[in-house]
Subunit: 201 residues, 2 copies
């Protein structure tokens, strides 16, 4: 009886020793991978802050750019505003939506920092980022096409350039378009980072 007890205790001690041997090996292996993925997650969060600034900056610059010319006739005052052109109205709405999405995506980005190996939030962010990239690119490109026309006009279609009259308005609108393209580049970086982090390690 006493002999049997001592044997079982010895076996348990041997198992405990085996566990102790295993645990440090795992602990040594994990932080390396975790640190790599955590770094990506933190970069993701910082880039997202930059994208928020670019998107909301573009929306407000476009939304506040209007110009009233100092001369007017009896019946008409010359004024240019973003809501005269449908493409620029679409720009303001789309950039506001993208800015709102980016703010709402910050908690998910924090989750990927806390749990670098979670696949769900990262996959969700990748897919929604792709949709937001499409929205940002389309509104930026259509606004750019209209701004180009406002700067240069088109003699074939008999569309005159309007930027000689409305110089400040055109500058504000051009700045907003540049800011939206900065947001597009940041979204591309975010998608590349997410894809690399999703890869099996």
């Amino acid at each position: 009886m006493a002999n049997g007890d001592s044997i079982s205790i010895e076996v348990q001690e041997a198992k405990a020793a085996a566990k102790l041997e295993k645990v440090p090996m795992l602990a040594h292996q994990k932080p390396e991978k975790k640190g790599w993925k955590k770094g990506i997650a933190i970069t993701d969060f910082v880039l997202r802050l930059g994208a928020i600034a670019a998107a909301l900056g573009a929306a407000t610059t476009m939304g506040t750019s209007d110009e009233t010319l100092p001369f007017f006739t009896q019946f008409f005052q010359f004024e240019a505003s973003y809501d005269d052109l449908p493409a620029l109205t679409f720009f303001v709405i789309a950039m506001a939506i993208v800015g709102g999405y980016l703010v709402l995506s910050l908690p998910f980005s924090v989750v990927t920092i806390v749990r670098p190996h979670a696949v769900g939030p990262r996959l969700l962010l990748l897919l929604l980022d792709t949709v937001a990239l499409t929205l940002t690119t389309s509104c930026g490109a259509s606004a750019a096409a209209i701004v180009y026309l406002a700067h240069n006009g088109n003699p074939s279609a008999n569309w005159m350039a309007v930027c000689q009259q409305f110089g400040d308005f055109c500058q504000g609108v051009s700045g907003a378009v540049v800011s939206s393209f900065v947001a597009v580049v940041i979204f591309l970086c975010l998608i590349v980072l997410s894809a690399c982090a999703l890869r099996r390690t």
Copy 2:
């Protein structure tokens, strides 16, 4: 001596038996995962064929849409072509590039069918697809902005609609824009599929 030989043979046989036992288990486990990933890879290939058709169709429709009006003055003949408008020229070039990229990406898609667990080609396709999505969206959106202007004009900027005169030209251009947006939707599906397949299983 003879006894030792027989023992070593027995051990080898036991090992062989253990291997035989293992192989069917692995073979039973693998096809399930492989089939799932292979299905995604085949869908990817078929969608890519559809995207090639949409992209090259858009480029050729836009490139061949020109219209010459049946009346002319002594010095001038009224003609509309895609190269009168910079946004439409950009559209033709960008859609041709996207079509070429899609054709060149087919071999990589075949590699993901043959080796469903390879991470490299899939990651490469995901990243290049994202860039191609951006290019397609930007050229489609800028052409859409110009086509909208050609259809409706803009009284604020004093830009007249030109589609009353050039109806056939406008129809061809509108068709090309719709085709480019079909390509955008297919690219979104491709990216979603690639992201799901990249996920650890």
